[in-house]
Symmetry: C2
Subunit: 470 residues, 2 copies
């Protein structure tokens, strides 16, 4: 290894990245790339080279071939989906994590990787004011860092199936009798997780009319009817901050239904969970003491790069009973100690990198006070955008919560035409979706470079493409 070549290339890359971030901040880059499908493929040779190339040449190619054809998720005009956040501290942590190159499947395969993860999951649980039972310090529950909220849902579903079957699931599978419940407002990863877990399509519980949240009475009715029919209700996936409108299911009442009936309750707070960092935005925490598991994507709103999802469980034994494995080559004396956590038994895959360094760097480099201001800043910008929508003739505000603003034009045809034009011009990215069957556009704040000026400018771009009402 040529040490000097690596140090030079790392410094070069760091410089290119800060230039890149500055270009994003000043909107000097398009948010969406210009090329049609196949642009990057055409620019890349058909085969890997036989002889090695200089790191400098590879960096050059990255900026020549790859960067121009990326969507820039931290661009101020990126208002799509939910944000994927980032920060210099997070990027630095990825460099160090990669350089240390450890694999943390068990405590014994890298003790510090495991213990740091326990600690930062506890840090975040406390910062979000989650129930103490979700902390490792409780010695019963605890958090684990995963790649995605999707994986958190899958793990919750699997643990729920296992528990509801009283362990029979592990040997015999779902047997067509175990049922999982959510609403049609759950993220697409929820029905996918239920299918992947072999439980078929989830049961869709009706929503409260007009509110896009689960109707707890309807849930109780459905669960009891299924049970009477010989089925086994295993898990309910509730959402705090749905994808389309950022609505939050009534967790206290859903939790009561689940608790009475011994059903696993997972609360997917992938986006909105981070808001609880601010005491005044902690409304969604109510009822969480009734949840068996809870997940937040730190990579959405906490300045942590993707992937970084935190899943907390109230009883770690539920997880390790369902997901544990004891092959001969995975046995060690450490694993028998009650003090030791083997995170391989808290996730689907066996292997895992050191996941916690990134969140540790971000929480320390920013500090909780600054991260709260990040949330408040985005919430203020969303309020500004919502007010601009409301003031605009021909536009209607459909939903507005935390950093999300959902709007439509005055007719569905005009919304569709606006969506088409925005995709064509591609200088501001909103996500089209459906609310009550009607087309809408979603705008989610979260760029670290967004401010009142960028929001007003982005809105000007949107309204300029509106079809005249006249």
């Amino acid at each position: 290894m040529d040490e000097r070549a690596f140090r030079t290339a790392a410094a070069d890359a760091a410089g290119r990245l800060t230039d890149h971030w500055r270009a994003l901040a000043s909107c000097d880059l398009p948010v969406v790339p210009p090329g049609p499908p196949g642009t990057t493929l055409k620019a890349l040779p058909d085969s890997a080279p036989e002889r090695g190339e200089d790191l400098a040449a590879i960096l050059d190619d990255t900026w020549r071939t790859i960067v121009p054809e990326l969507v820039h998720w931290q661009h101020p005009n990126f208002l799509g989906y939910y944000p994927t956040s980032n920060s210099p501290a997070s990027v630095l942590a990825e460099l160090v994590t990669a350089g240390l190159g450890v694999q943390g499947m068990m405590w014994s395969t890298s003790p510090a990787a495991t213990e740091l993860e326990q600690r930062v999951c506890d840090w975040l649980a406390r910062a979000l004011d989650l129930p103490a039972r979700f902390t490792h310090a409780s010695r019963q529950g605890g958090g684990v860092i995963l790649d995605s909220a999707s994986s958190a849902v899958l793990i919750a579903v699997v643990a729920g199936l296992h528990r509801a079957s009283r362990g029979r699931w592990r040997e015999h599978g779902t047997e067509g009798r175990l049922r999982v419940y959510c609403t049609d407002q759950a993220n697409s990863c929820v029905p996918k997780a239920v299918r992947v877990a072999g439980a078929g399509e989830p049961v869709l519980v009706p929503t409260v009319p007009g509110a896009h949240v689960m109707d707890p009475a309807a849930l109780a009715e459905r669960v009891d009817a299924d049970r009477a029919a010989g089925l086994v209700p295993a898990a309910v996936i509730a959402t705090a901050g749905t994808t389309v409108t950022c609505a939050t299911d009534p967790v206290p009442r859903i939790g009561a239904v689940c608790r009475e009936r011994g059903i696993w309750l997972h609360v997917d707070a992938a986006y909105a969970g981070s808001a609880a960092l601010c005491p005044e935005l902690r409304e969604d925490n109510t009822g969480l003491e009734l949840a068996d598991s809870y997940a937040v994507n730190a990579h959405k709103w906490l300045r942590t790069g993707t992937p970084c999802d935190v899943l907390w469980v109230a009883d770690r034994k539920d997880l390790t009973d369902a997901l544990g494995s004891t092959a001969s080559y995975l046995r060690d004396n450490a694993g028998d100690s009650p003090e030791v956590v083997d995170f391989k038994d808290w996730q689907i895959p066996l292997g895992r990198p050191m996941r916690a360094l990134k969140l540790w760097y971000v929480l320390r480099a920013h500090g909780l006070a600054e991260l709260r201001e990040v949330i408040r800043h985005d919430v203020r910008l969303a309020a500004l955008l919502a007010s601009l929508v409301e003031q605009e003739p021909g536009f209607h505000l459909v939903a507005h919560r935390f950093g999300l603003v959902v709007f439509r034009a005055d007719t569905d045809d005009r919304t569709r035409e606006l969506t088409r034009r925005l995709a064509e011009e591609a200088d501001v990215l909103c996500t089209p979706a459906l609310v009550d069957g009607r087309p809408v556009l979603r705008a989610a704040l979260g760029s670290p470079y967004a401010d009142e000026t960028t929001v007003r400018r982005a809105w000007d771009l949107v309204r300029a493409r509106a079809v005249s009402a006249s």
Copy 2:
């Protein structure tokens, strides 16, 4: 953002990492940390700080608190599990990937991320001489980068369940009738994936006596008996290079059994698949034209840091039919184009980082010729270690293939005592396992810093702890 602080910290980290790699190369660091459970936890405060801290201070703490309590997976005396590889090019790529911070769930959410991934998966398929049907260039199959071989197995199982049920699985789940097959030599992630997929415990097919590989005749018998009993054989998970002894199931004959009966065949080549980079080590490729899917962990033996598993499928439609989702907010016009691949439908989670940059950097920076020499170097070192074992009185060579050497002492009690002493001294890391119910120790070569000297020194450490036969 303070640009200068980030650039300084990145340069600082790069320097610390090259120092770290030099210390590993010269065995100046212990391979296993000294502290008992709780050492890192005790060193970390109970709560995240309110105010932000300097990146330099966080780097200092990383090297003071975290690095001393890690297991160093690239240490020359790390012979455990299978290797987790790394290289400066891979680390550089992680820095750039993190800095660009994109999310590549769909083509439209970052076209270059998707197309680069298609291209490097094709590069690796060609370099490994895999069947052309596994390439994106075939327009029917293709590769995708995942976090782990575990995830590849889960995806294969799910696609197999879907296909075998003729789509009924998607709505109704496994219904207790779908069966998945492997042997007791499959990695622990295989039965776990089958359980997670709701199909219960896999059917364990007998192995050929003494050979630790699947008996194809026994597979056919078992499958036909299950079918006669009204069950639905859905998938077979074969292994090329098992975890314990690096044995390879007879894929041509297993493939014939599967092909005749319409059963999904996945070949898990997590470790051994990389050997096919060398024409003279390509024996495990025979019969792969009968497989539906195939996976290799580039992070094991290809100088690519974890995580980087590549899963190839012969028919992408099998995957997207099973895993596809079409929520309103995930629809775009691009997705309808036959040229466009949306990798969210090739994996379990919805979101994903830009995964391909790392493999692109490694393949380019090293070149295929050098990577072949990496493989050959480790194979030579393993041959050396195997010969040292064979020459040593009181030791027996149990298995030796590619970079893996499996050995035991002359009695099981002596093997157990040796295992205990090695764990206590902790200056060389081998993995204990069981072969035919007898305790063994596994030593897998793969450190980028290993050479004949380090292998001889590591072996001296092992033999010095052997219980005298006298």
